[in-house]
């Protein structure tokens, strides 16, 4: 079952891969078809010369994958405010399935002008010319965190502005924590301590720690063990560190103190945490919005994840505001992006649905306003990004399908298969 579309929807793997085609239509059938007007208009050529922006009076469409009502309303308000100011019409569309709608939009030549774009989708769309790279034209270009910019840089071109980012942290249910006789000093700092408190928190009605069965959560253990899937552009999925990480998780799953959210009847970790089927969960910033919405009475603490054999480690996620090469009004779209990524606007988004601003100028104020959430921002210092090579989404989707069966799988051969799948796309 699909995960709720939490803001950084990209953690649930989606895929893309493409290459650019355009030109004249051949073939008798096709000729007959074009007589009626082809939908395959070859739009403006994808920016070799990034200075070429289209402009016009066409209204803008913004396609987002929303985590829920609060995110939808926040984006709608921001876009409406810009619309009023600029006098240009702009509307927000909520995607049912962002990837499918994007792909279909690109193929039909009539995509949304701006859209959420995940790190693992960008390489594919950039390769087939669906995207208009605009990063270097942003007024606030230098304000974005360099590590985020790197995620959206394809072939040395900064394609799109990171809209925000999130990291994973350990969310703890305060009531269940103290019921188990634990105090603030017991917040785990190592794997042993994590296993210990998870065991203490496990009762008949609840498990100690939960997370969804996917790389986008379990990856933190790999990072803590000193592993990764891709390092410096090379596939390193079958490392001993990764094996150690998965075996550690297997052990705890076996013991029953860890459990996958799907195994305890929840759609995602946040749900199991909210219903108190789990006392701790590994989740990202978006969980705060979801909990405030669905389980407003729950008291919880956000802590940094424990360190593993190689020290602290977590994953971070980011999305950017992708711009379509086929958009007829890219100048206005660029202006809208600047509005949406401005320091004030990002702080407001953060307040309304949880992610952290992608610009450095907002960091101080964000920490000040969210003292209880600083663990998320602290994690950014050592966080890893999931691989973003073209085709990585498919590999991760396959890894995730194997992780669902982790309790009965052999960690080493599981990772071997990931390595085999990663190698062709990292070469």
């Amino acid at each position: 079952m699909r995960q709720p579309q939490t803001a950084p929807r990209f953690p649930t793997a989606r895929r893309t891969r493409c290459a650019l085609r355009g030109g004249v239509i051949l073939g008798a059938t096709a000729l007959a078809l074009t007589a009626c007007g082809s939908g395959f208009d070859d739009g403006p050529a994808a920016g070799d010369d990034a200075g070429d922006f289209t402009s016009g009076a066409d209204p803008l469409t913004v396609l987002i994958g929303s985590s829920g009502d609060s995110e939808t309303a926040a984006v709608e308000d921001a876009v409406a405010a810009w619309s009023e100011e600029s006098g240009l019409e702009a509307s927000v569309q909520i995607a049912n399935d962002l990837t499918q709608q994007l792909s279909q939009g690109f193929a039909s030549g009539d995509p949304a002008d701006l859209f959420y774009l995940s790190t693992d989708a960008i390489a594919g769309y950039a390769a087939n010319g669906s995207l208009q790279p605009y990063g270097d034209h942003l007024e606030n270009r230098d304000d974005f965190y360099p590590s985020l910019v790197e995620n959206f840089t394809v072939e040395d071109q900064f394609h799109c502005a990171p809209k925000d980012f999130s990291t994973l942290a350990l969310i703890i249910n305060d009531t269940l924590w103290s019921d188990a006789g634990l105090t603030d000093d017991d917040v785990p700092a190592t794997w042993e301590e994590l296993a210990g408190v998870a065991e203490q928190l496990t009762t008949e009605d609840q498990v100690g720690l939960t997370f969804s069965p996917e790389y986008q959560r379990l990856g933190v253990f790999m990072a803590q063990a000193g592993g990764a899937l891709v390092e410096d552009g090379a596939a390193v999925a079958d490392s001993a560190e990764n094996v150690e990480a998965l075996e550690y998780v297997q052990e705890q799953l076996d013991a029953g103190s860890f459990a996958f959210s799907s195994d305890i009847g929840a759609g995602w970790g946040g749900e199991a945490f909210g219903t108190e089927d789990a006392a701790m969960v590994i989740e990202g910033n978006w969980i705060t919005g979801a909990l405030a919405n669905d389980f407003p009475d729950l008291d919880y603490t956000v802590a940094e994840l424990p360190g593993g054999p190689a020290g602290p480690g977590t994953l971070q996620f980011t999305n950017c505001w992708g711009m379509a090469a086929d958009s007829p009004n890219q100048e206005a779209a660029l202006d809208l992006v600047e509005h949406l990524t401005s320091t004030e606007q990002q702080l407001e988004f953060s307040e309304r649905f949880g992610p952290m601003p992608s610009v450095e100028s907002a960091a101080a104020q964000w920490s000040e306003e969210n003292p209880e959430l600083t663990a998320f921002l602290d994690g950014a210092e050592y966080a890893q990004f999931p691989p973003h090579q073209a085709g990585a989404a498919d590999v991760i989707a396959d890894l995730n399908s194997q992780l669902e069966d982790l309790d009965s799988a052999d960690a080493e051969s599981l990772l071997d298969s990931v390595q085999a799948n990663l190698e062709p796309i990292t070469e």
Binding site: M1, R2, Q3, P4, Q5, A30, L33, T34, C36, G37, S38, G39, F40, G68, Q93, I94, N96, D97, Q100, Q101, Q104, G105, A107, S108, G109, D110, A266, G267, G270, E271, G274, A290, N293, D294
Partner: protein, 284 residues
């Protein structure tokens, strides 16, 4: 009643009782899920989770329906489905009977070829056409429009078949009389033959109504705008958690209930007809 039927009657009562016992249990298995669906749509979320089998909501609530109709695009989906279904049904009735008549009655060169082509076309499985249909709809410039949603569904090879078979069963003398009286071919078809084809037409209406109301894959590849989302597409997105975080089954089941009502009404109105024209019932 034939002799065998009578013989059955004369059997020991326990045989019949056993038979009805088995039938009742099976019928319960077939009907209960729909009752649960209806009941759950009036429950609150926690109630639905706690009492999944119960047919009586602990606290009866319209909440799910309110949410659907007042705070979601559901009405738009419903309207789109209704419009498309109406157009497709009208189109199929007209075009299928027209072509069926020509193939059954009119003599012209190429008839055999057309007929053979129809048979061939009927064997192409629909899911194989997902990608290609998108390509063609897009090439024609009708992607993401009502035209793209309706046109490809407007004709149905199986419908032509049913009509052809039916027209072949009508005696020729009727229309020959009309022709001798000087009526043109279309006139003969329209005012003499077509009115006689009511049973077959009803079959076509049922099939196209059910087919287009329940169609999903075609709408996935033919549209992208939220304004053009149909019930099937919309409810499918609901199922994967678009409107709500977590499970929220009452909303989803309420959507499923409403979606089932028109076909159910159709079903009960034409029940006899559907049951008797198994030929038609097959092509779902």
């Amino acid at each position: 009643m034939t002799a065998v039927a009578l013989r059955h009657r004369g059997r020991p009562a326990w045989g019949q009782i056993g038979l009805y016992g088995v039938l009742c249990v099976l019928a319960l298995v077939y009907i209960y899920p729909f009752l649960v669906q209806l009941a759950t749509s009036f429950k609150t979320d926690p109630d639905a989770a706690a009492q999944p089998v119960s047919l009586v909501p602990q606290a009866f609530t319209w909440q799910a329906y309110e949410r659907l109709f007042l705070h979601s695009d559901f009405p738009v989906w419903f309207m789109n489905s209704a419009v498309v279904t109406l157009l497709v049904t009208l189109g199929r009735v007209f075009f299928c009977s027209l072509a069926g008549y020509a193939l059954a009655r009119l003599r012209f060169r190429g008839r055999a070829v057309i007929f053979a082509a129809l048979v061939a076309v009927m064997s192409v499985p629909a899911v194989v056409l997902l990608i290609p249909k998108f390509l063609v709809i897009n090439s024609l410039g009708i992607y993401d429009s009502y035209a793209g949603m309706v046109l490809p569904l407007l004709v149905d090879a199986a419908g032509v078949f049913i009509m052809k078979n039916f027209f072949e069963s009508i005696p020729r003398s009727v229309e020959e009389q009309a022709r001798i009286d000087g009526a043109g071919i279309f006139r003969t078809f329209w005012s003499v033959v077509l009115p006689m084809a009511r049973p077959a037409l009803i079959t076509i209406v049922i099939l196209s109504f059910q087919g287009s109301w329940n169609e999903l894959s075609h709408f996935i590849v033919a549209t992208q705008s939220p304004e053009l989302t149909t019930l099937t597409k919309g409810v499918a997105s609901l199922a994967s958690g678009q409107l709500s975080q977590g499970s929220e089954y009452p909303i989803k089941l309420a959507a499923a209930v409403i979606m089932t009502i028109p076909v159910a009404v159709m079903f009960f109105i034409f029940q006899r007809r559907i049951m008797n024209s198994t030929e038609g019932a097959v092509k779902e």
